[in-house]
Protein backbone atom coordinates (compact mmCIF):
# COMPACT_ATOMS: atom_id res chain seq x y z
CA UNK A 1 0.00 0.00 0.00
CA UNK A 2 1.32 3.47 -0.82
CA UNK A 3 2.39 5.43 2.22
CA UNK A 4 2.18 8.91 0.72
CA UNK A 5 0.25 10.66 -2.04
CA UNK A 6 1.48 13.65 -4.04
CA UNK A 7 0.08 15.57 -7.02
CA UNK A 8 1.46 14.17 -10.30
CA UNK A 9 2.23 17.76 -11.28
CA UNK A 10 3.05 20.64 -8.93
CA UNK A 11 0.70 23.61 -8.57
CA UNK A 12 -2.09 22.58 -10.94
CA UNK A 13 -4.72 21.50 -8.38
CA UNK A 14 -5.40 21.09 -4.66
CA UNK A 15 -5.76 17.59 -3.19
CA UNK A 16 -7.40 18.08 0.20
CA UNK A 17 -11.06 18.66 1.05
CA UNK A 18 -13.06 19.56 -2.05
CA UNK A 19 -10.29 19.66 -4.65
CA UNK A 20 -10.09 22.34 -7.32
CA UNK A 21 -7.91 23.41 -10.22
CA UNK A 22 -5.46 26.26 -9.66
CA UNK A 23 -5.10 29.01 -12.24
CA UNK A 24 -4.20 32.66 -12.48
CA UNK A 25 -6.19 35.77 -13.37
CA UNK A 26 -4.61 38.82 -14.97
CA UNK A 27 -5.04 41.73 -12.56
CA UNK A 28 -5.34 44.15 -15.52
CA UNK A 29 -7.90 42.54 -17.85
CA UNK A 30 -9.32 39.61 -15.89
CA UNK A 31 -8.34 36.88 -18.36
CA UNK A 32 -8.05 33.48 -16.65
CA UNK A 33 -5.26 31.02 -17.38
CA UNK A 34 -4.94 27.30 -16.74
CA UNK A 35 -2.30 26.05 -16.21
CA UNK A 36 -1.06 29.17 -14.42
CA UNK A 37 0.38 31.97 -16.55
CA UNK A 38 3.25 34.13 -15.45
CA UNK A 39 5.28 36.90 -16.99
CA UNK A 40 2.96 38.41 -19.57
CA UNK A 41 -0.79 38.35 -20.17
CA UNK A 42 -1.60 36.59 -23.46
CA UNK A 43 -4.58 38.83 -24.26
CA UNK A 44 -3.16 40.83 -27.22
CA UNK A 45 -5.02 43.97 -26.05
CA UNK A 46 -3.56 43.80 -22.54
CA UNK A 47 -0.09 44.68 -21.27
CA UNK A 48 -0.70 43.18 -17.83
CA UNK A 49 2.20 41.48 -16.06
CA UNK A 50 0.67 40.64 -12.70
CA UNK A 51 -1.56 37.73 -11.86
CA UNK A 52 -3.64 36.62 -8.91
CA UNK A 53 -3.65 32.94 -8.01
CA UNK A 54 -7.22 31.66 -8.20
CA UNK A 55 -9.19 28.48 -7.60
CA UNK A 56 -11.29 27.54 -10.64
CA UNK A 57 -14.95 26.49 -10.54
CA UNK A 58 -15.36 22.91 -9.35
CA UNK A 59 -18.16 22.08 -11.80
CA UNK A 60 -18.64 22.59 -15.51
CA UNK A 61 -20.44 21.30 -18.58
CA UNK A 62 -19.04 18.73 -21.01
CA UNK A 63 -17.85 20.34 -24.28
CA UNK A 64 -16.99 16.94 -25.73
CA UNK A 65 -15.68 13.55 -24.66
CA UNK A 66 -14.00 10.35 -25.83
CA UNK A 67 -12.02 7.41 -24.45
CA UNK A 68 -8.70 5.60 -24.85
CA UNK A 69 -9.29 2.00 -25.90
CA UNK A 70 -5.57 1.45 -26.54
CA UNK A 71 -2.74 2.12 -24.10
CA UNK A 72 -1.15 5.51 -24.81
CA UNK A 73 2.62 5.53 -25.52
CA UNK A 74 5.26 6.87 -23.05
CA UNK A 75 5.59 9.20 -21.24
CA UNK A 76 2.17 7.83 -20.17
CA UNK A 77 2.73 5.52 -17.19
CA UNK A 78 0.30 2.59 -17.24
CA UNK A 79 -1.31 2.14 -13.81
CA UNK A 80 -1.81 -1.61 -14.40
CA UNK A 81 -0.25 -4.39 -16.47
CA UNK A 82 -3.23 -4.72 -18.78
CA UNK A 83 -4.69 -1.56 -20.23
CA UNK A 84 -8.01 -0.52 -18.77
CA UNK A 85 -9.78 1.90 -21.13
CA UNK A 86 -10.47 5.29 -19.58
CA UNK A 87 -12.59 8.22 -20.73
CA UNK A 88 -11.57 11.85 -21.24
CA UNK A 89 -13.71 14.97 -21.30
CA UNK A 90 -13.19 18.60 -22.27
CA UNK A 91 -15.21 20.64 -19.80
CA UNK A 92 -16.42 24.22 -20.09
CA UNK A 93 -16.30 26.37 -16.94
CA UNK A 94 -18.99 29.05 -17.23
CA UNK A 95 -17.47 31.76 -15.07
CA UNK A 96 -13.92 31.44 -16.38
CA UNK A 97 -15.10 30.83 -20.00
CA UNK A 98 -12.44 28.23 -20.53
CA UNK A 99 -12.54 24.57 -21.62
CA UNK A 100 -10.28 22.16 -19.73
CA UNK A 101 -9.34 18.64 -20.83
CA UNK A 102 -9.06 15.91 -18.24
CA UNK A 103 -9.54 12.22 -17.70
CA UNK A 104 -12.93 11.10 -16.47
CA UNK A 105 -13.24 9.59 -12.97
CA UNK A 106 -12.56 5.87 -12.64
CA UNK A 107 -15.63 3.74 -13.22
CA UNK A 108 -17.24 6.13 -15.71
CA UNK A 109 -17.17 5.78 -19.50
CA UNK A 110 -18.50 7.46 -22.61
CA UNK A 111 -21.96 6.01 -21.97
CA UNK A 112 -22.14 8.13 -18.81
CA UNK A 113 -21.40 11.36 -20.72
CA UNK A 114 -23.08 13.72 -23.18
CA UNK A 115 -22.31 17.19 -24.51
CA UNK A 116 -23.71 19.70 -22.01
CA UNK A 117 -23.83 17.27 -19.05
CA UNK A 118 -22.60 18.54 -15.67
CA UNK A 119 -19.39 17.15 -14.17
CA UNK A 120 -17.41 17.97 -11.05
CA UNK A 121 -13.73 17.92 -10.23
CA UNK A 122 -12.27 15.03 -8.24
CA UNK A 123 -8.71 13.91 -7.52
CA UNK A 124 -7.72 10.26 -8.01
CA UNK A 125 -4.55 8.15 -8.25
CA UNK A 126 -2.90 8.25 -11.71
CA UNK A 127 0.10 5.96 -11.13
CA UNK A 128 2.38 4.75 -8.34
CA UNK A 129 6.17 4.99 -8.20
CA UNK A 130 8.24 3.51 -5.33
CA UNK A 131 5.26 3.40 -2.99
CA UNK A 132 4.30 7.01 -3.70
CA UNK A 133 0.87 7.52 -5.20
CA UNK A 134 0.74 10.26 -7.82
CA UNK A 135 -2.62 12.02 -8.04
CA UNK A 136 -4.41 13.71 -10.93
CA UNK A 137 -7.56 15.83 -11.34
CA UNK A 138 -10.47 14.15 -13.09
CA UNK A 139 -14.02 14.99 -14.18
CA UNK A 140 -16.81 13.02 -12.52
CA UNK A 141 -20.36 12.93 -13.92
CA UNK A 142 -22.87 14.44 -11.49
CA UNK A 143 -26.23 12.78 -10.84
CA UNK A 144 -27.72 10.23 -13.20
Amino acid sequence: MPTTAVPAVEGWFTISGEPCLLGTRCTTCGTVFFPKASGFCRNPECRGREFDDIELSRTGKVWSYTDAQYQPPPPYIPPSETHEPFALAAVELAEEQVVILGQVAKGFGVDDLSVGATVELVVEPLYEIDGVEHLIYRWKPVGS
Binding site: Y70, L88, V99
Partner: protein
Protein backbone atom coordinates in the same frame (compact mmCIF):
# COMPACT_ATOMS: atom_id res chain seq x y z
CA UNK B 1 -4.13 44.89 -50.48
CA UNK B 2 -4.04 43.77 -54.12
CA UNK B 3 -3.59 40.09 -54.87
CA UNK B 4 0.10 39.12 -54.97
CA UNK B 5 1.81 38.03 -58.18
CA UNK B 6 1.79 34.33 -58.98
CA UNK B 7 4.66 31.92 -58.70
CA UNK B 8 4.78 28.82 -60.91
CA UNK B 9 4.71 25.21 -59.80
CA UNK B 10 7.01 23.95 -62.52
CA UNK B 11 7.60 20.48 -61.16
CA UNK B 12 6.16 18.12 -58.58
CA UNK B 13 7.32 14.72 -57.35
CA UNK B 14 6.95 12.20 -54.55
CA UNK B 15 8.48 9.15 -53.00
CA UNK B 16 5.59 6.71 -52.51
CA UNK B 17 4.10 6.58 -48.99
CA UNK B 18 4.56 3.38 -46.97
CA UNK B 19 6.65 1.87 -44.20
CA UNK B 20 10.00 1.51 -45.88
CA UNK B 21 12.43 1.76 -42.95
CA UNK B 22 14.97 3.93 -44.78
CA UNK B 23 16.55 7.25 -43.65
CA UNK B 24 14.17 10.14 -44.36
CA UNK B 25 16.56 12.01 -46.63
CA UNK B 26 16.64 9.12 -49.10
CA UNK B 27 12.92 9.62 -49.67
CA UNK B 28 13.52 13.35 -49.92
CA UNK B 29 16.14 12.92 -52.64
CA UNK B 30 13.84 10.63 -54.63
CA UNK B 31 11.01 13.17 -54.46
CA UNK B 32 13.33 16.09 -55.26
CA UNK B 33 14.79 14.37 -58.32
CA UNK B 34 11.28 13.47 -59.53
CA UNK B 35 10.18 17.11 -59.16
CA UNK B 36 13.32 18.40 -60.91
CA UNK B 37 12.83 15.96 -63.81
CA UNK B 38 9.15 16.89 -64.00
CA UNK B 39 10.15 20.56 -64.21
CA UNK B 40 12.98 19.96 -66.65
CA UNK B 41 15.29 21.84 -64.28
CA UNK B 42 18.77 20.66 -63.38
CA UNK B 43 19.84 20.47 -59.73
CA UNK B 44 22.65 22.93 -60.40
CA UNK B 45 20.09 25.60 -61.35
CA UNK B 46 18.31 25.46 -57.98
CA UNK B 47 19.14 28.62 -56.00
CA UNK B 48 17.16 28.00 -52.83
CA UNK B 49 16.15 24.83 -50.97
CA UNK B 50 13.41 24.97 -48.33
CA UNK B 51 12.81 21.86 -46.25
CA UNK B 52 10.12 20.80 -43.83
CA UNK B 53 11.79 19.57 -40.64
CA UNK B 54 11.22 16.24 -39.01
CA UNK B 55 11.76 16.05 -35.24
CA UNK B 56 12.17 12.28 -35.20
CA UNK B 57 15.54 11.90 -36.87
CA UNK B 58 17.97 13.90 -34.74
CA UNK B 59 19.96 16.77 -36.19
CA UNK B 60 19.71 15.59 -39.81
CA UNK B 61 15.94 15.98 -39.38
CA UNK B 62 16.16 19.43 -37.77
CA UNK B 63 18.30 20.67 -40.65
CA UNK B 64 16.28 18.82 -43.28
CA UNK B 65 16.97 21.30 -46.08
CA UNK B 66 20.73 21.05 -45.72
CA UNK B 67 20.62 17.28 -45.17
CA UNK B 68 18.78 16.80 -48.45
CA UNK B 69 20.92 19.39 -50.23
CA UNK B 70 24.05 17.55 -49.12
CA UNK B 71 22.56 14.24 -50.26
CA UNK B 72 21.80 15.71 -53.68
CA UNK B 73 25.39 17.06 -53.76
CA UNK B 74 26.28 20.51 -52.38
CA UNK B 75 25.50 23.07 -55.05
CA UNK B 76 25.85 26.29 -53.09
CA UNK B 77 22.07 26.88 -52.87
CA UNK B 78 20.80 28.88 -49.92
CA UNK B 79 18.72 26.83 -47.50
CA UNK B 80 16.01 27.18 -44.88
CA UNK B 81 14.58 24.42 -42.70
CA UNK B 82 11.11 25.09 -41.34
CA UNK B 83 9.15 23.56 -38.48
CA UNK B 84 5.43 24.21 -38.13
CA UNK B 85 4.22 20.71 -37.16
CA UNK B 86 1.84 19.40 -39.86
CA UNK B 87 2.08 22.74 -41.68
CA UNK B 88 5.90 22.56 -41.95
CA UNK B 89 5.88 21.80 -45.67
CA UNK B 90 3.85 24.87 -46.56
CA UNK B 91 5.90 27.10 -44.27
CA UNK B 92 8.87 25.96 -46.36
CA UNK B 93 6.88 26.55 -49.53
CA UNK B 94 6.02 30.07 -48.40
CA UNK B 95 9.68 30.84 -47.71
CA UNK B 96 10.51 29.80 -51.28
CA UNK B 97 7.58 31.71 -52.74
CA UNK B 98 8.49 34.85 -50.81
CA UNK B 99 12.08 34.77 -52.06
CA UNK B 100 10.86 34.40 -55.63
CA UNK B 101 8.28 37.18 -55.30
CA UNK B 102 10.93 39.41 -53.73
CA UNK B 103 13.09 38.86 -56.80
CA UNK B 104 15.84 37.21 -54.78
CA UNK B 105 15.79 33.99 -56.81
CA UNK B 106 14.09 32.35 -59.79
CA UNK B 107 14.25 28.65 -58.96
CA UNK B 108 13.54 27.03 -55.59
CA UNK B 109 13.11 23.45 -54.43
CA UNK B 110 10.69 22.70 -51.59
CA UNK B 111 10.94 19.27 -50.03
CA UNK B 112 9.60 17.38 -47.03
CA UNK B 113 10.35 13.81 -46.01
CA UNK B 114 9.78 11.65 -42.97
CA UNK B 115 10.36 8.21 -41.58
CA UNK B 116 8.00 7.31 -38.74
CA UNK B 117 7.72 4.72 -35.99
CA UNK B 118 4.77 2.35 -35.75
CA UNK B 119 1.68 3.31 -33.75
CA UNK B 120 0.67 6.55 -32.04
CA UNK B 121 2.84 9.60 -32.70
CA UNK B 122 4.52 10.29 -29.36
CA UNK B 123 6.77 13.08 -28.10
CA UNK B 124 10.53 12.65 -28.27
CA UNK B 125 12.09 11.01 -25.19
CA UNK B 126 13.16 12.76 -21.97
CA UNK B 127 11.28 14.44 -19.09
CA UNK B 128 9.95 17.90 -19.97
CA UNK B 129 7.60 19.26 -17.31
CA UNK B 130 7.20 22.58 -19.15
CA UNK B 131 6.19 21.00 -22.51
CA UNK B 132 2.41 20.57 -22.96
CA UNK B 133 2.99 17.96 -25.67
CA UNK B 134 4.92 15.79 -23.17
CA UNK B 135 2.59 16.56 -20.27
CA UNK B 136 -0.61 15.58 -22.10
CA UNK B 137 0.71 12.03 -22.48
CA UNK B 138 2.09 11.81 -18.93
CA UNK B 139 -0.86 13.36 -17.09
CA UNK B 140 -3.85 12.53 -19.29
CA UNK B 141 -2.81 9.76 -21.67
CA UNK B 142 -4.23 12.09 -24.34
CA UNK B 143 -3.06 10.88 -27.77
CA UNK B 144 -3.66 12.63 -31.09
CA UNK B 145 -6.83 10.56 -31.71
CA UNK B 146 -8.16 11.83 -28.37
CA UNK B 147 -8.46 15.32 -29.84
CA UNK B 148 -9.82 14.08 -33.21
CA UNK B 149 -12.47 12.15 -31.28
CA UNK B 150 -13.55 15.22 -29.27
CA UNK B 151 -14.36 16.99 -32.55
CA UNK B 152 -16.10 13.89 -33.94
CA UNK B 153 -18.29 13.50 -30.86
CA UNK B 154 -19.34 17.14 -31.07
CA UNK B 155 -20.58 16.59 -34.65
CA UNK B 156 -22.71 13.72 -33.34
CA UNK B 157 -24.15 15.53 -30.33
CA UNK B 158 -24.60 18.90 -32.06
CA UNK B 159 -25.55 17.95 -35.63
CA UNK B 160 -26.78 14.37 -35.30
CA UNK B 161 -23.88 12.89 -37.32
CA UNK B 162 -23.71 9.08 -37.17
CA UNK B 163 -21.03 6.39 -37.18
CA UNK B 164 -22.24 5.50 -40.68
CA UNK B 165 -21.69 9.09 -41.89
CA UNK B 166 -18.09 9.02 -40.69
CA UNK B 167 -17.51 5.58 -42.24
CA UNK B 168 -18.74 6.90 -45.61
CA UNK B 169 -15.82 9.38 -45.66
CA UNK B 170 -13.38 6.48 -45.49
CA UNK B 171 -15.25 4.55 -48.18
CA UNK B 172 -15.09 7.59 -50.49
CA UNK B 173 -11.41 8.30 -49.91
CA UNK B 174 -10.43 4.64 -50.29
CA UNK B 175 -12.14 4.64 -53.68
CA UNK B 176 -10.44 7.90 -54.69
CA UNK B 177 -6.96 6.66 -53.83
CA UNK B 178 -7.36 3.27 -55.49
CA UNK B 179 -5.28 4.19 -58.54
CA UNK B 180 -2.92 6.70 -56.95
CA UNK B 181 0.59 5.23 -57.39
CA UNK B 182 1.94 7.21 -54.41
CA UNK B 183 -0.76 6.13 -51.93
CA UNK B 184 0.11 3.58 -49.25
CA UNK B 185 -3.34 2.01 -48.97
CA UNK B 186 -4.94 1.14 -52.31
CA UNK B 187 -7.87 -1.04 -51.39
CA UNK B 188 -11.60 -0.41 -51.39
CA UNK B 189 -13.33 -0.74 -48.04
CA UNK B 190 -17.01 -1.04 -47.25
CA UNK B 191 -18.95 0.87 -44.63
CA UNK B 192 -19.41 -2.44 -42.76
CA UNK B 193 -15.65 -3.06 -42.68
CA UNK B 194 -15.02 0.42 -41.29
CA UNK B 195 -17.66 -0.03 -38.60
CA UNK B 196 -16.30 -3.48 -37.71
CA UNK B 197 -12.77 -2.18 -37.12
CA UNK B 198 -11.74 -1.78 -33.45
CA UNK B 199 -12.73 1.35 -31.55
CA UNK B 200 -9.65 3.48 -30.79
CA UNK B 201 -11.05 6.71 -29.35
CA UNK B 202 -14.84 6.63 -29.22
CA UNK B 203 -16.49 7.34 -31.68
CA UNK B 204 -13.49 6.85 -34.00
CA UNK B 205 -12.40 3.42 -35.17
CA UNK B 206 -9.07 2.14 -36.43
CA UNK B 207 -9.98 2.56 -40.12
CA UNK B 208 -11.10 6.14 -39.49
CA UNK B 209 -7.84 7.48 -38.05
CA UNK B 210 -4.91 8.16 -40.31
CA UNK B 211 -1.79 6.04 -39.92
CA UNK B 212 1.76 7.37 -39.67
CA UNK B 213 3.79 6.79 -42.83
CA UNK B 214 7.16 7.19 -44.44
CA UNK B 215 7.11 9.33 -47.57
CA UNK B 216 8.33 12.46 -49.30
CA UNK B 217 7.01 15.19 -51.56
CA UNK B 218 8.77 17.95 -53.46
CA UNK B 219 7.84 20.96 -55.54
CA UNK B 220 9.97 23.08 -57.88
CA UNK B 221 8.78 26.68 -57.63
CA UNK B 222 9.90 29.32 -60.10
CA UNK B 223 9.16 32.88 -61.09
CA UNK B 224 6.52 33.20 -63.81
CA UNK B 225 9.13 34.63 -66.20
CA UNK B 226 11.38 31.62 -65.72
CA UNK B 227 8.42 29.24 -66.04
CA UNK B 228 7.20 30.69 -69.33
CA UNK B 229 10.52 29.75 -70.91
CA UNK B 230 10.06 26.13 -69.79
CA UNK B 231 6.32 25.41 -69.94
CA UNK B 232 3.36 26.68 -71.93
CA UNK B 233 0.89 27.11 -69.08
CA UNK B 234 2.32 26.30 -65.68
CA UNK B 235 0.11 25.79 -62.64
CA UNK B 236 0.23 28.89 -60.46
CA UNK B 237 0.21 29.49 -56.72
CA UNK B 238 -2.20 32.34 -56.08
CA UNK B 239 -2.16 32.44 -52.28
CA UNK B 240 -0.49 30.86 -49.28
CA UNK B 241 -1.97 31.15 -45.79
CA UNK B 242 0.02 30.30 -42.67
CA UNK B 243 -2.11 32.27 -40.23
CA UNK B 244 -2.01 31.74 -36.45
CA UNK B 245 -5.11 31.75 -34.23
CA UNK B 246 -6.61 34.92 -32.84
CA UNK B 247 -7.04 35.27 -29.08
CA UNK B 248 -9.09 33.89 -27.48
CA UNK B 249 -8.98 30.54 -29.29
CA UNK B 250 -11.95 28.81 -27.68
CA UNK B 251 -11.55 25.41 -29.37
CA UNK B 252 -9.64 22.65 -27.53
CA UNK B 253 -6.49 22.18 -29.61
CA UNK B 254 -3.80 19.54 -29.54
CA UNK B 255 -1.60 19.44 -27.42
CA UNK B 256 -3.22 21.92 -24.99
CA UNK B 257 -4.88 21.21 -21.65
CA UNK B 258 -7.15 24.22 -21.91
CA UNK B 259 -8.53 26.72 -24.37
CA UNK B 260 -7.90 30.42 -24.03
CA UNK B 261 -10.36 32.08 -21.67
CA UNK B 262 -12.98 34.34 -23.23
CA UNK B 263 -13.66 36.02 -19.87
CA UNK B 264 -12.07 39.34 -20.85
CA UNK B 265 -12.18 39.43 -24.65
CA UNK B 266 -14.93 38.04 -26.93
CA UNK B 267 -13.92 35.20 -29.30
CA UNK B 268 -13.07 36.20 -32.89
CA UNK B 269 -15.70 35.91 -35.61
CA UNK B 270 -13.86 33.03 -37.30
CA UNK B 271 -12.52 30.00 -35.46
CA UNK B 272 -8.87 29.19 -36.10
CA UNK B 273 -9.74 26.40 -38.53
CA UNK B 274 -12.13 28.73 -40.39
CA UNK B 275 -9.45 31.40 -40.63
CA UNK B 276 -6.84 29.21 -42.36
CA UNK B 277 -8.54 28.89 -45.77
CA UNK B 278 -10.14 32.33 -45.33
CA UNK B 279 -6.63 33.76 -45.35
CA UNK B 280 -5.97 32.13 -48.72
CA UNK B 281 -9.31 33.20 -50.23
CA UNK B 282 -8.71 36.77 -49.15
CA UNK B 283 -5.17 36.88 -50.50
CA UNK B 284 -6.12 35.38 -53.87
CA UNK B 285 -9.44 37.19 -54.28
CA UNK B 286 -10.94 33.79 -55.13
CA UNK B 287 -13.82 32.25 -53.16
CA UNK B 288 -14.93 28.70 -52.38
CA UNK B 289 -17.58 28.83 -55.15
CA UNK B 290 -14.82 29.08 -57.74
CA UNK B 291 -13.00 25.90 -56.66
CA UNK B 292 -12.87 22.67 -58.68
CA UNK B 293 -11.49 20.54 -55.85
CA UNK B 294 -9.96 20.57 -52.38
CA UNK B 295 -7.34 18.53 -50.53
CA UNK B 296 -8.14 18.68 -46.81
CA UNK B 297 -6.36 17.20 -43.80
CA UNK B 298 -8.45 14.14 -42.96
CA UNK B 299 -6.58 13.07 -39.82
CA UNK B 300 -9.90 11.39 -39.09
CA UNK B 301 -13.03 10.72 -41.13
CA UNK B 302 -15.06 13.15 -39.01
CA UNK B 303 -12.42 15.85 -39.34
CA UNK B 304 -12.84 15.82 -43.13
CA UNK B 305 -16.48 16.81 -42.54
CA UNK B 306 -15.39 19.67 -40.26
CA UNK B 307 -13.12 20.92 -43.04
CA UNK B 308 -16.00 21.11 -45.56
CA UNK B 309 -17.49 23.75 -43.28
CA UNK B 310 -14.18 25.38 -42.31
CA UNK B 311 -13.29 26.06 -45.97
CA UNK B 312 -16.75 27.31 -46.87
CA UNK B 313 -18.08 24.42 -48.98
CA UNK B 314 -21.25 24.38 -46.84
CA UNK B 315 -22.71 25.81 -43.65
CA UNK B 316 -21.98 24.31 -40.20
CA UNK B 317 -23.95 21.10 -39.74
CA UNK B 318 -24.42 20.47 -43.48
CA UNK B 319 -21.24 18.49 -44.24
CA UNK B 320 -22.88 15.09 -43.85
CA UNK B 321 -25.46 16.02 -46.48
CA UNK B 322 -22.74 17.23 -48.86
CA UNK B 323 -20.97 13.88 -48.47
CA UNK B 324 -24.07 11.71 -48.81
CA UNK B 325 -25.30 13.65 -51.87
CA UNK B 326 -22.00 12.75 -53.55
CA UNK B 327 -20.93 16.38 -53.96
CA UNK B 328 -17.44 15.65 -52.59
CA UNK B 329 -16.90 12.45 -54.59
CA UNK B 330 -15.01 12.60 -57.90
CA UNK B 331 -17.69 13.45 -60.45
CA UNK B 332 -19.58 15.54 -57.88
CA UNK B 333 -19.79 19.32 -57.52
CA UNK B 334 -16.62 19.80 -55.47
CA UNK B 335 -14.51 16.64 -55.06
CA UNK B 336 -12.58 16.54 -51.79
CA UNK B 337 -9.39 14.51 -51.42
CA UNK B 338 -9.30 13.02 -54.93
CA UNK B 339 -5.79 11.82 -54.00
CA UNK B 340 -7.33 9.53 -51.39
CA UNK B 341 -6.22 11.91 -48.64
CA UNK B 342 -4.57 10.87 -45.42
CA UNK B 343 -6.96 7.91 -45.38
CA UNK B 344 -4.93 6.38 -48.24
CA UNK B 345 -1.54 7.94 -47.49
CA UNK B 346 -1.13 8.01 -43.72
CA UNK B 347 0.70 11.02 -42.38
CA UNK B 348 4.34 11.81 -43.14
CA UNK B 349 4.33 15.11 -41.26
CA UNK B 350 6.84 17.37 -43.05
CA UNK B 351 5.84 16.02 -46.46
CA UNK B 352 2.08 16.00 -46.14
CA UNK B 353 1.23 19.65 -46.83
CA UNK B 354 3.55 19.55 -49.87
CA UNK B 355 1.87 16.34 -51.05
CA UNK B 356 -1.46 18.18 -51.01
CA UNK B 357 0.05 20.81 -53.34
CA UNK B 358 1.43 18.07 -55.64
CA UNK B 359 -2.04 16.55 -56.00
CA UNK B 360 -3.67 19.87 -56.88
CA UNK B 361 -0.93 20.47 -59.47
CA UNK B 362 -1.50 17.07 -61.10
CA UNK B 363 -5.25 17.68 -61.11
CA UNK B 364 -4.93 21.14 -62.69
CA UNK B 365 -2.63 19.73 -65.39
CA UNK B 366 -5.09 16.92 -66.11
CA UNK B 367 -2.48 14.30 -65.15
CA UNK B 368 -4.24 12.65 -62.19
CA UNK B 369 -4.71 9.32 -63.91
CA UNK B 370 -7.54 7.20 -62.52
CA UNK B 371 -8.75 10.00 -60.22
CA UNK B 372 -8.97 13.05 -62.48
CA UNK B 373 -11.44 15.80 -61.64
CA UNK B 374 -12.67 16.80 -65.10
CA UNK B 375 -11.97 20.38 -66.12
CA UNK B 376 -10.21 21.25 -62.85
CA UNK B 377 -8.94 24.83 -62.93
CA UNK B 378 -8.74 25.89 -59.27
CA UNK B 379 -7.97 23.97 -56.10
CA UNK B 380 -7.19 24.58 -52.47
CA UNK B 381 -5.23 22.70 -49.82
CA UNK B 382 -5.80 23.09 -46.11
CA UNK B 383 -4.28 21.59 -42.99
CA UNK B 384 -3.72 22.21 -39.32
CA UNK B 385 -0.85 21.27 -37.05
CA UNK B 386 0.05 21.55 -33.39
CA UNK B 387 1.00 24.77 -31.61
CA UNK B 388 -1.17 27.19 -33.61
CA UNK B 389 0.04 26.14 -37.03
CA UNK B 390 -2.07 25.73 -40.13
CA UNK B 391 -1.67 26.13 -43.86
CA UNK B 392 -3.67 26.63 -47.02
CA UNK B 393 -2.46 26.98 -50.60
CA UNK B 394 -4.69 28.14 -53.44
CA UNK B 395 -3.66 27.12 -56.96
CA UNK B 396 -5.13 27.80 -60.40
CA UNK B 397 -4.31 26.94 -63.98
Amino acid sequence: MTAPASVAVLGVGMHAWGKWGRPFHEYGVTAALAALDDAGVSWGDVQFVAGGETVRNGYPGYVAASTITQALGWNGARVASCYAACASGVTALDAARSRILAGLCDVALVVGADTTPKGFLAPVAGERWDDPDWLRFRLLGATNPTYFALYARRRMDLYGATDADFAKVKVKNAKHGLHNPNARYRKEVTEEEVLASPMVADPLRLLEICATSDGAAAVVLTSMDYARKHATSPVRIRAVSTVTPRFPNTVTEMPNFATDSAAALAPPELTFRDSIAAGAYEEAGIGPDELSLAEVYDLSTALELDWYENIGLCKPGEAEKLLIDGDTTIGGRIPVNPSGGLACFGEAVPAQAIAQVCEIAWQLRGQAEGRQVEGANAGITVNQGLFGHGSSVLLTT
